[in-house]
């Protein structure tokens, strides 16, 4: 059954997850374009998008052959792994245990690596490869997010729209500011995406094993809320732990 709740959660999760991935790919493309030239940046990006399109066209129809409960169980399992990985990192970042992700730093590191290669004869090839790799790898994650959040009959188009809007949004903002999107609250977004993907993962595995979720799709916001409450408590506790143990070192 398609409800407003499932459409909203699917589109939100797909949009936010894709947005974060596209921002990361955009940083590399921008670094290639600014440091080397725009030609390898566009060629690398175009080739990667072509490979992604082929992958979707080849493997997409195969998903339709898998029984829905097995598909939801399998995708739910992958989503739990994917989402918990994001959530774990987001909790540790928010508590100060690992450094926050910084697009300015990522841009500087990529530009630096490209500048060191710029004197080589195959500099254009290396720069194009960097753009290709970034777009392909982040693109695969976007494809996975779309398939995973839309793993219910009729929901895939909504997930795809969410991802498409995210791509357009990053492109428009990126073209307007013409620099790494460092002011995007990427770490907060990753926190929210981690919550949403883990929630979807638990929900899909539950559907796969035949759980009659109370309220149907309305269980999704409850799952998101439970995970958010847990994460909030974990961050607070970890911050206290961090401060308690970090003080003697600071003196």
């Amino acid at each position: 059954m398609t409800t407003i709740t499932s459409i909203t959660s699917t589109m939100t999760a797909s949009f936010l997850g894709s947005f974060v991935e596209v921002v990361e790919a955009f940083t590399i493309i921008l670094a290639v374009g600014v440091t080397q030239s725009w030609r390898p940046a566009f060629i690398g990006t175009g080739l990667a998008l072509s490979v992604l399109a082929v992958l979707v066209l080849v493997f997409g129809p195969l998903l339709g052959l898998i029984p829905i409960d097995i598909l939801q169980f399998g995708i739910g399992t992958l989503l739990i792994l994917f989402g918990m990985r994001w959530l774990r990192k987001a909790i540790l970042r928010a508590a100060g245990f690992i450094a926050l992700h910084d697009e300015e730093k990522a841009f500087a590191a990529e530009s630096d690596a490209l500048a060191r290669q710029s004197t080589e004869r195959r500099a254009d090839f290396l720069a194009g490869t960097a753009a290709f790799k970034a777009v392909l790898l982040e693109g695969i994650e976007v494809v996975f997010i779309v398939i995973a959040t839309g793993a219910r009959p009729g929901m895939l188009p909504y997930a795809a729209i969410g991802a498409l809007v995210a791509c357009i949004a990053v492109l428009v903002i990126g073209l307007a500011v013409h620099k790494p999107l460092s002011s995007v609250p990427e770490n907060t977004l990753k926190f929210i995406v981690g919550l949403l993907l883990t929630g979807f993962g638990i929900f899909w595995v539950g559907e796969g094993i035949g759980t009659p979720w109370p309220g149907g799709d309305l269980s999704l916001p409850v799952l998101f809320g439970g995970l958010a409450a847990f994460s909030f408590i974990a961050v607070r506790w970890l911050r206290q732990y961090h401060n308690l143990h970090a003080e003697p070192v600071a003196r």
């Binding site: 994917f82 918990m84 909790i91 595995v205 539950g206 759980t211 009659p212 974990a234």
Partner: protein, 72 residues
């Protein structure tokens, strides 16, 4: 060959960061799935175990990182 290697590494990296977290999560999901399918527990109990298990695994993982950081 190295491109394939990189692609494989990146693909597994999408799902596995903390090995213990990934392993425990897989065991939890498979355990709950098998228990429900074999009729040992009901699907609702399975879902409750799944939720609680995920939170427990996450708590163990972040606590382990925190303790390791300030060991010694």
């Amino acid at each position: 060959m190295s491109i394939l290697k990189i692609a494989f590494k990146e693909l597994t990296g999408m799902f596995i960061d903390d090995g213990a977290l990934a392993l425990f999560s897989l065991l939890l999901v498979l355990g709950v799935g098998l228990a429900v399918k074999s009729g040992l527990i009901g699907p609702t109990v399975g879902a409750v175990l799944l939720c609680a298990g995920c939170l427990g695994i996450l708590a163990e993982s972040v606590t382990r990182v925190a303790r390791r950081k300030f060991r010694r």
